[in-house]
Subunit: 488 residues, 2 copies
């Protein structure tokens, strides 16, 4: 089933040949909407197959499919609106230095996009996921590297997308699918592949990033690799609602058996009575959590080994020991450590690395300086969260300061919430400083489409030859910047 180099080549060439069929925005948005409809129509079979391959369970999978369809439609709306084309028109201006000629700029699709599926989101970050939806919306054909955890589902979903394409006269090659590790490496090196999107581990993602950068013609590689997702609980927040925070944390870190890239992996909680209450509440809630099944045996092995290695560090405690549950399951738990252990480079740095699965590390701090020291040592993150008291949230104390301290660490900063659950919205940003992502882009939300486009400007082109998007009379009614004015 693994694709040979020749098969990868043929798949990429078929995708490349389908480019022109995506040129018309109306066709693209209709295709995306049909894809959403047909995925919904095929729901039962898709969820059944996904459940058989991933053990994520029908409830989660049904929800994820709904999210996937919502996302396809959201990108269809974006395509129809057209603001993403980023039209800028300047008429000649001889008063400028040097003089400005007639310049009309918008964005064009890059070409074939390679999409690397994630194990933990068989729908939303796989064949019909955010990378594919945004690439097709941008006008780019895709070739998806299927994740080995759900090959049959990948085939089924690709088939639905191709049927939707055919319904709009788009060649089926517009959505290619390949299986196999080597095929994935071939894909990122293929001369006709113009960009890549990836969701997965730091190791795998970095290897592909390196391959993309080492090509004779380097290509943009948008990888989401890993994140610790720190949480800071202020003294006052703990004093105000320790129990709610403890149980909220338990819910977030165990959601989906801890297999979300935005799982809170490090929590800074105060020493003292309020922090103790938080830990008591966390202990109770995590103890009550059923053992769960991880996506595959490799993950289960990594989780058990990763937790054991961390728990063995001196003065690290396990109020609820995470690790092997039954033969196939794992049980949730958490570790505690004194925050000062994390303030300097050394053996405890392991606690600052992501551990995939239902575990978090609670670092108890003595004062604000310790919080600051630990934060200063963190790598980039997808999210950073702060829990504040009502007074701090209202502007008293150092709420704004903490927000400013967390901002350099992450792409999404939350107040009094939990990072799990990534909404599909125009303002969403799912990305962050490396290793959260390998670029400054987002893989969720409206602006994810920007990853697959590049600007081009026409100078002195007569109206008769300009694409309609760039004509003075704006026949398509696009939002644009016209001689400095923002027009809608």
């Amino acid at each position: 089933m693994e694709a040979t180099a020749q098969e990868v080549d043929a798949t990429v060439r078929a995708a490349h040949a389908a480019r022109a069929s995506l040129a018309d925005r109306a066709v693209r948005s209709a295709f995306l909407r049909t894809a959403a409809e047909q995925l919904e129509a095929a729901k039962d079979g898709l969820v059944e197959t996904a459940d058989a391959e991933t053990a994520l369970g029908p409830v989660r999978l049904t929800g994820e499919l709904a999210r996937t369809c919502f996302q396809l439609r959201a990108f269809a709306d974006i395509v129809d609106e057209g603001a993403f084309l980023d039209v800028i028109i300047n008429h000649p201006d001889d008063t400028a230095t040097p003089p400005i000629p007639d310049l009309r700029r918008y964005k064009v699709p890059l070409g074939v996009v390679a999409v690397y599926s994630a194990s933990n989101f068989p729908f939303a970050f796989s064949v019909a996921g955010g990378d594919t939806a945004s690439a097709l919306a941008a006008g780019c054909p895709v070739v998806v590297k299927a994740h080995p955890d759900h090959p049959a589902l990948s085939e089924l979903v690709a088939k639905v997308l191709r049927r939707a394409a055919a319904a709009h006269g788009i060649p089926e090659g517009v959505v290619g699918l390949v299986h196999g590790f080597e095929a994935g490496v071939e894909l990122v090196k293929h001369p006709l592949v113009a960009a890549a999107g990836f969701t997965g581990s730091v190791r795998g993602g970095r290897a592909l990033f390196d391959a993309a950068a080492a090509r004779p013609t380097p290509i943009p590689f948008h990888g989401e690799l890993g994140s610790l997702n720190p949480v800071v609980v202020t003294e006052a927040a703990a004093a105000e609602r320790a129990e709610a925070i403890g149980s909220g944390l338990a819910g977030s870190m165990t959601l989906g058996v801890g297999q979300f890239c935005v799982k809170p992996g490090l929590v800074l909680a105060p020493n003292g009575a309020a922090g103790d209450r938080l830990l008591k509440s966390l202990t109770d809630a995590v103890s009550d959590t059923d053992a769960g099944v991880l996506l595959d045996h490799r993950m289960r092995d990594n989780f058990i080994a990763g937790v054991a290695e961390r728990a063995e560090l001196p003065e690290v405690e396990s109020p609820v020991t995470p690790g092997a549950g039954g033969e196939h399951t794992v049980s949730a738990g958490f570790l505690t450590v004194s925050a000062d252990k994390l303030a300097e480079e050394g053996a405890y740095d392991l606690l600052l690395e992501e551990c995939f699965g239902p575990v978090t590390v609670v670092a108890r701090y003595e004062d604000e300086d310790e919080v600051r020291s630990v934060l200063s040592r963190l790598p980039g993150n997808l999210t950073a969260t702060v829990h504040l008291s009502s007074e701090e949230a209202a502007g008293e104390g150092r709420g704004a300061e903490l927000l400013a301290e967390l901002t350099p660490l992450a792409g999404r900063v939350l107040v009094n919430g939990w990072p799990t659950g990534v909404a599909v919205a125009p303002a969403q940003h799912h990305g962050g400083p490396y290793p959260a992502t390998t670029s400054t882009s987002t893989s969720v939300g409206g602006t994810a489409i920007e990853r697959w486009m590049r600007p081009v400007v026409y100078q002195g082109a007569p109206e008769a030859l300009l694409p309609p998007e760039l004509r003075d009379d704006n026949p398509l009614g696009l939002p644009r910047r016209y001689d400095g004015r923002l027009e809608r």
Copy 2:
């Protein structure tokens, strides 16, 4: 004078320490305007020093300084307007799947930017050039690697920028300057450097790009490396105005002694009488061009060797032989070749590589298929140009088709113009597929600021803690996307 690793480190740290002083947009724009004023005030001394170091001559240098100041003020205007912050606000929406919480996104500066100066633009692409202006506008301190062709000018310009900074209470470290090849390599590897901008050769730029990608934490590297800038002259255009095209081409390819990255380096002209007239006109105009001085001896050597190597290819002719002029000068010229020689991989590929200096290659074609074959073999370009007849420009014939064929090749596509002269304008795009640039960004024009920023979104943050840019009542009057509506 070459900076040691310790000096590079100290310079980067000083720049990093100056970050907070750029947080206020009003301070940034005032700083940029003061910098423009003070550069103008220092004009005579700056031009004199530049002329002594570069031999570009006071006329060109005075114009380039004016352009540089215009550019600083253009970015000041962009900072004041604030659209570049790309504010998107979404209020909670429970009807979405999953539900959308309160999300408020804008862009924040990346941190210290490394700027690599160009030899051929001692003002506009050097210490106070486009990379520096756009980085400071974004809120990023810069450390400039001076070009060895104009070290004294680099010091003078840096001094002016620092004085302008000090006038607004910004630490002088906000603009660092280092000299030396090794210092440049240290710079791109420094952990506190967050991004880099480069203008120069493919070899040097690719080495730095590779170093940026190989860092433990890779950083964005926006390099403008090289471009052939193809020109297509249709049969009908040649028939209509062969003489004007020939003399226009001569002016563009010899402007600045051919030392512009947008110099037309390959011209597809038809066989037959009209093409012959074009060549006659080109011959006359180029023959009348005075010998000129290249930026340094290395460039002169490369030009003479590069031209000789190309001219030696079988069946390549030199109607006006380019090469050594006097002891320090070079004379302009051009080569001709039959276009079918370029249609397949081989020895003639050398003619598809940029040759810096006053030379161009005219490839004579028999029919449209030959034009298409040659275009399909070109690497990425900053510009691509087509000369059309009046009828073709009005929509008759294959004008639109040619425009569509040139679009994949370049970032700027010109009709009936010449690529030299890159206007500073909101719609400008100075970039293109590799090796024109190493990213999809531009180094000239309003959107150059986007290179130095990353998005961040706040989720559930109370109004009291939000930066003013993201508050509902929009106290700063920013253009934004508010619950789907574009507001200005």
